[in-house]
Symmetry: D2
Subunit: 280 residues, 4 copies
Amino acid sequence: MKESWKYASRQYQPEDTVVSIGSVFIGSGEPVVIAGPCAVESAEQIVETALAVKEAGAHLLRGGAFKPRTSPYDFQGLGAKGLELLAQAREMTGLGIVTEVLDPADVPLVAEYADMLQIGSRNMYNYPLLRAVGRQDKPVLLKRGMSATLYEFLMSAEYILAEGNPNVVLCERGIRGFSDFTRNTLDLSIVPAVKQYSHLPIIVDPSHGTGRPEYIEPMSLAALAAGADGIMVEVHPRPHRALSDADQALTLTQFQEMMKKIRSFLEWRRSYGHSYLEHP
Amino acid sequence: MKESWKYASRQYQPEDTVVSIGSVFIGSGEPVVIAGPCAVESAEQIVETALAVKEAGAHLLRGGAFKPRTSPYDFQGLGAKGLELLAQAREMTGLGIVTEVLDPADVPLVAEYADMLQIGSRNMYNYPLLRAVGRQDKPVLLKRGMSATLYEFLMSAEYILAEGNPNVVLCERGIRGFSDFTRNTLDLSIVPAVKQYSHLPIIVDPSHGTGRPEYIEPMSLAALAAGADGIMVEVHPRPHRALSDADQALTLTQFQEMMKKIRSFLEWRRSYGHSYLEHP
Amino acid sequence: MKESWKYASRQYQPEDTVVSIGSVFIGSGEPVVIAGPCAVESAEQIVETALAVKEAGAHLLRGGAFKPRTSPYDFQGLGAKGLELLAQAREMTGLGIVTEVLDPADVPLVAEYADMLQIGSRNMYNYPLLRAVGRQDKPVLLKRGMSATLYEFLMSAEYILAEGNPNVVLCERGIRGFSDFTRNTLDLSIVPAVKQYSHLPIIVDPSHGTGRPEYIEPMSLAALAAGADGIMVEVHPRPHRALSDADQALTLTQFQEMMKKIRSFLEWRRSYGHSYLEHP
Amino acid sequence: MKESWKYASRQYQPEDTVVSIGSVFIGSGEPVVIAGPCAVESAEQIVETALAVKEAGAHLLRGGAFKPRTSPYDFQGLGAKGLELLAQAREMTGLGIVTEVLDPADVPLVAEYADMLQIGSRNMYNYPLLRAVGRQDKPVLLKRGMSATLYEFLMSAEYILAEGNPNVVLCERGIRGFSDFTRNTLDLSIVPAVKQYSHLPIIVDPSHGTGRPEYIEPMSLAALAAGADGIMVEVHPRPHRALSDADQALTLTQFQEMMKKIRSFLEWRRSYGHSYLEHP
């Protein structure tokens, strides 16, 4: 791997970056859980989900108001209205909000509502958008492009850092391959690789990474065992009726069950303290 | 392949779309050649190249003024100044100009200068940008994403068409793989596949597709033999000094040589008339 | 690409290898066509096909007697009986026979009947088998593994050459990828790459390469335009009833039609003589 | 995924297969650790390694006597002599031996020495070899092919099972992709997928899966967290001098360190009993 970048590199900054979203810290050694529906669909849906994931132990709420969809005829999200519903859910639960922005022109609007701006896989190479989120001060969740190398991934983070925003969290979400059993191929080796080459936190999205709700629990545990700083999971009250990524989300009950095992695992992992992550 | 789209589909429009850029027609059965440097670097460079490719038989001039680069520290193009130099080169040669646009906010500016707007691979999933070029009336060259399926590729075209701009030309430019002998894997089977499922023209870029100047001639001939509506080739007076994609372009002389063989091939292909493309 | 091999390299032998199978020469500059069914199914089927492809201009007959199948419950070929039927078809048409061998123990038997031994994609890394065909003197057709690099491909040829058999023909047959419109991704750039790094002939199999009969003609022409030394095409009297790779083969009539266009193309290509292949 | 197979499917046999190698059980819910050098190089090397991995807690000893190498000029293993050295190491440590077989003709010899026969990635589609190991009664470790789908992987197991040998353990070892930070892409999602579709045990090889010793510990923990029935790890007294896969193995000390964390993790996992694996 080439090593011509600057701010994102471990050499430039040997100590881990810790990104704070209110009272939640990503990269501190204590993993965080971001949960919520793929898309905000209604006040009922987002509030019901927010209350349930909060109770189950999630730290942040995800939900798309602006949705990038393969087809122009698919549900594109509620837009500004979706942002308001997210703000409502935050008010009721205290959970910080993570939501995607697609257009540089929308950055000020989304940043007004969101606690963390998400750059989706499709936009990892969208440099004007990366620059735009680099010029405001809300933290950024940068998802890996569908077939991005580690070098490209870190350089996209570099675009944001170079504009002055140091609060970037990376997210592995599966790469495109020939798999006949998952939607994408979740590439967990990137977790220790990011830790080696960069100081930025990295979380894992097993929902998009596998596209199969039954694999989310084992792959969440695997991600955390590999040293990830958190996971991002799709949760929906009625996954089969979801307007986006139907049948990919966990139900509220499935999420609660999974969180029990994850909490138990994290207790074990915590017993190592920061030394758990002393690789590589 | 799903077939839920509309305007881009062969069923919606059985006859081939022919896109006209001034007096150049793409999709007419008679292939076109788009040539020029990866990036506009100076007046001398772009004019020298334009004159040479025009003389060798190219139909359109390519050249990037806004360059999407993996690293924020690499040459990002001359911007507006580059557009002016392209306009100068057009004035001197009569060649229409194809140039990339990266930001929805830049579409009006680029459309003012360009004869055809290019959407690069990195932006194939950038839906706000696709919508923006769909709302103006210059033709659009849409490059396939690095790991885009045919369905996703055609749906990105659909975003443009759905906004009212019917003049879209597709471009295969290589997909990401494990190749140890090329930069990307040029996927020529997509040429007959596009002809089967869509009425839109498709051209091939063997320069990015292989990253190896010595393979550009054979792959250009292969693309045209497969039924492509044209090729797009990087040409630079001094490839080893190119500020972007160094050592990937053909020299002016190499391009002239290649064009002789291509012209001879096209004479043969022309002998079949439109029936050459009666597959599939 | 590493260059630690010996016999297969262009440096070791600058002039092109020409492999002769009876009066047919592969690598001479004049492409050959190998045609026939995926599997030999009956005397009628193989003889009918052999007569038709011969008349249409094919140079060699392909047909599997020993078939490697993903499922142990699928038709595994007629074995020794299939070899006899191939010999019968040869007697009636004069066409040399290309057929696959799977087991080192079967090499003497298959070599007794075949004019050329095929090593399939699944066995490109089967070194005992490569050595076994290297120790006999019938020419070998070595197909590229599903995800083989060029280096690995040439090194597998090296295993054969190192045992003393210099008559190896390489065959590109598509690599595994994420394509939603073809069974595999036909990687035609490997044609000029093989010519650059090795002196061995290379042919292309668009039937397995695409899995779609309607793309075989354009991809055959593309392969020959890229400089391939021949093509290998599946032809079956009744493709939908084929016991292996059903619906992938051309019908006898489709093959005849395609051969007209190919002959015309080759006349044009011949006008260049050996200089057509002067790349890279 | 197609589901046309029989013996390998979860529907045919709902309860988990447990494969016993002496007193070691794979698939029992209690993971096993297989460790040792890529290739047996000398009595000293294999005995030193065997003693060290035994003491660190490994359950079985791996080591190649017949090595499939990309180049015919690379070290091909010590052959029968290597088998004898493995037997010696077994005698001194009590560890069962896992070693690869390449040629159907060698199966009786290798089965005489080995406690478990390994089929390498390169031979996952080598059906005569699969049949040969299916016709003897030593357990078989079947590694996933470089770009094998789950269906193909399970069908290769089916070839073995259909011959009468029910003792097959699957092994994920990374798939070929475009990664710039690992040798292969370790596809851990296949662990829950195998558990869902089949009753066969599955282990993970993070050494070949990543090619990077510094990622072996996190990926081993991730594999076990995902529900793997074990791991297989390359360990060598002096990795930089290894005759095969140099610099990929852990040192004896690194392995000992890793085993401490793994043992601690397995204590936690054990607290769940078999219910840990109740997914999917």
